[in-house]
């Protein structure tokens, strides 16, 4: 009976591989390539759509919708796009999964959106989807997280630079000597890995006497970071600074340090610049953060989309992805007032 099953299963596999072998099979990228060949004439003169009079649909697909960054981006986009009554703006949830994002990208292409703003959960994983959209004449603007293929634009926040900035600030204030712990993102998350890379590169280059005692994942979450920090505090009698890959984790770490009564000795750094973190800095619970104006980043994405729709420029007209970078702002208690109420998110 097992043989029977095996035979049946093998038949199935053979049927599939035979069809694969016959050469008629096309991957999405090949389908996209042949589609863009047939529209080759359009390349010569990229013809856009009138953004200000025609019906326009723009979609935003962030990694995960429940995140304060994503909410601020969406706010920024909406605030800008809402001023045009002919524009529909929709937000979809990537559920922090490549698979979901790939599915939704297909969906957006089927619904023929005029532009897609995408925060690519995985650069390599979303590449084929982005190619497919661009080939269908839909400009894709990536927000913060790049896709590993040429597309209309990338509006990048800071990650590597944020790591470098934190390393410089910590290195300077400790006088180049001390002990640091890291509470990191979920393993494999691009943003976390980039912050880490930037941070460690500067430390090993400029401050070789600063020792990284330990590094544990807080999985982006306040509660987990709190647990991790408690563990660090009991394990290491001397900690001079904590570097967290986002603000939510820095807040969790701060509560742990406060409970242990060691706020005076430990610097706590986060990254993002959400309003709760700014409050923590004001109260002296945290030391600093790398602030990005997410609303303005969202608005930039929307404006790039308008530019692409109006001009008809897609990946066909480009050889590499143009990058618009947001400014990294190091915020500590000293310059906290520079971040005015309307800039907070």
């Amino acid at each position: 009976m097992k043989k029977k099953f095996l035979a049946l299963a093998m038949m199935g596999i053979m049927a599939v591989t035979m069809m694969t072998g016959c050469g008629a099979v096309q991957t999405d990228s090949q389908v996209a390539a042949s589609a863009s060949d047939s529209t080759a004439e359009a390349v010569e003169a990229a013809a856009g759509k009138d953004f200000y009079t025609e019906d326009i649909k723009i979609a935003f697909l962030p990694n995960v919708i429940g995140d304060s960054c994503a909410a601020a981006w969406a706010d920024g986009m909406k605030a800008y796009l809402d001023t045009f009554s002919n524009v529909t703006f929709d937000v979809y949830d990537g559920e922090a999964s490549v698979d979901t994002e790939v599915q939704i990208m297909d969906e957006l292409i089927n619904q023929s959106y005029d532009a897609i703003i995408l925060q690519a959960t995985d650069a390599a994983g979303l590449a084929a989807s982005v190619d497919k959209a661009e080939a269908a004449g839909i400009p894709v603007i990536t927000c913060n997280l790049d896709a590993d293929t040429t597309h209309t634009a990338l509006v990048a926040g800071v990650d590597t630079e944020a790591g470098e900035a934190m390393a410089n600030s910590i290195g300077e204030s400790l006088g180049g000597e001390g002990k640091v712990v890291i509470i990191s993102a979920t393993p494999g998350a691009t943003k976390g890995e980039n912050i880490d890379a930037g941070f460690k590169a500067v430390l090993s280059e400029k401050y070789p006497n600063i020792e990284i005692l330990d590094e544990q994942s807080g999985e982006w979450l306040t509660e987990n970071a709190n647990t991790v920090m408690n563990d660090f505090l009991t394990k290491y009698p001397e900690i001079d600074a904590v570097m967290c890959h986002n603000d939510a984790m820095a807040e969790g770490a701060a509560e742990a340090v406060k409970a242990a009564g060691r706020l005076e000795q430990v610097q706590i750094w986060g990254c993002d610049g959400e309003s709760k973190m700014l409050d923590y800095i004001e109260e002296g619970l945290c030391t600093g953060t790398i602030y990005t104006n997410c609303q303005s980043q969202g608005a930039s994405c929307a404006q790039m989309a308008v530019f692409a729709i109006e001009s008809g420029i897609t990946a066909k007209n480009l050889t590499s992805t143009p990058v618009v970078k947001m400014a990294p702002v190091i915020v500590t208690k000293d310059n906290l007032s520079d971040i005015t109420e309307d800039m907070r998110w």
Partner: protein, 335 residues
């Protein structure tokens, strides 16, 4: 038998009803591209659902399927990146790894006698940790590499718009249905799920049957992983997370009961399509995410409540008939 057909007609009808609702309210729903997308979306979950249906029919459960897909995919990415193995060898290895994971699940459940829920929950953690262990690293940092091997990528491809994964799903579903309905193993699976003790008393090695269904699930996870990496072209550490629940939902919507002994692959096939249509249709309304999840949850619950109510009624009807026959026989005896 007639009752089974009736149940099938109802589930197909409810699927069509839902499709009509989406089709009438959205202009892009019935487009060719969208139909093919739906079939593509349901196929990976559907392939795994075939195995999970087997497991659930034996009154078991498998929570590790998502992690098996993740682990298998990561191993493929790892071997492709470090050793540049040819695609066919990668496929063989993927299926072998998936199958091995299934063997391990079966071993823990049948030999170590751990309840399937806990056993597969633990192996889920185990397989997920192996994903991290085998993740591709550069300078100690996990990086996701783009897979460039055309032989692997072709598995995400299509023939005249029909995706390979859909073809595989249909073929495997037919094979699964034949195994379940026409082979001795199928009969044993139903017997084990309906009443393990009486199955054992009638000479069926229930442990072995349970082990086999886990192996089949692992095997199918291996196949699903091949299509998954073919489609996405890279492997992240969270690939397959949460997949197990979508699969279980499809199986249960398809009419398999957690108590075992009931359901088939035809139902599971419809269940998988049902889930994909629901997901696809909801996206067309541009609702806020919270509302989308609520609708999804409600539809699934309603389907499952319907299934259990329908089965209760049918069960009662069967008992009623049996009683009537019994009474008639007794009356005859008296006469």
């Amino acid at each position: 038998m007639r009752q089974e057909n009736m149940r099938r007609i109802i589930s197909v009808a409810s699927l069509f009803l839902m499709m009509m609702v989406f089709g009438l309210t959205s202009s892009s729903f019935f487009s060719m591209n969208n139909m093919m997308s739906i079939l593509r979306e349901c196929s990976i979950n559907g392939i795994i659902a075939i195995g999970v249906a087997f497991v659930i029919i034996t009154a078991g459960i498998d929570l590790s399927t998502g992690a098996i897909v993740g682990f298998t995919s990561m191993m493929c990415a790892n071997l492709l990146y470090y050793y540049q193995l040819p695609a066919t060898l990668i496929f063989v290895i993927a299926i072998a790894i998936g199958t091995f994971c299934g063997v391990l699940n079966g071993y823990v459940v049948t030999r170590l006698r751990v309840p399937a829920f806990i056993a597969t929950l633990s192996t889920q953690y185990l397989f997920r940790s192996l994903v991290f262990a085998f993740a591709i690293r550069e300078g100690g940092v996990i990086t996701n590499k783009k897979i460039t091997d055309p032989g692997v990528l072709i598995m995400g491809g299509s023939i005249d718009g029909i995706y390979l994964v859909t073809i595989a799903f249909v073929v495997l579903a037919i094979v699964g249905q034949i195994i379940l309905k026409k082979t001795k193993l199928g009969t044993y699976i139903y017997a084990t799920g309906s009443n393990q003790k009486s199955a054992e008393l009638s000479g069926i090695n229930a442990g072995k049957v349970k082990w086999i269904v886990f192996i089949i699930t692992g095997f199918l996870c291996g196949i699903a992983a091949i299509f998954e990496i073919g489609r996405i072209g890279s492997v992240t550490t969270d690939l397959g997370t949460g997949l197990e629940f979508e699969v279980i939902a499809a199986v249960v919507i398809g009419g398999c009961a957690f108590s075992g002994g009931r359901g088939d692959i035809f139902g599971t096939f419809i269940g998988a399509i049902f889930m994909a249509v629901l997901q696809n249709g909801i996206l067309k309304y541009n609702l806020p995410t919270a509302a989308q999840l609520v609708i999804k949850g409600i539809v699934i619950v309603v389907m499952i409540i319907f299934d259990s109510v329908y089965n209760n009624i049918m069960q009662k009807r069967i008992l009623q008939k049996a009683r009537e026959l019994d009474e008639a026989a007794q009356a005859e005896e008296v006469a």
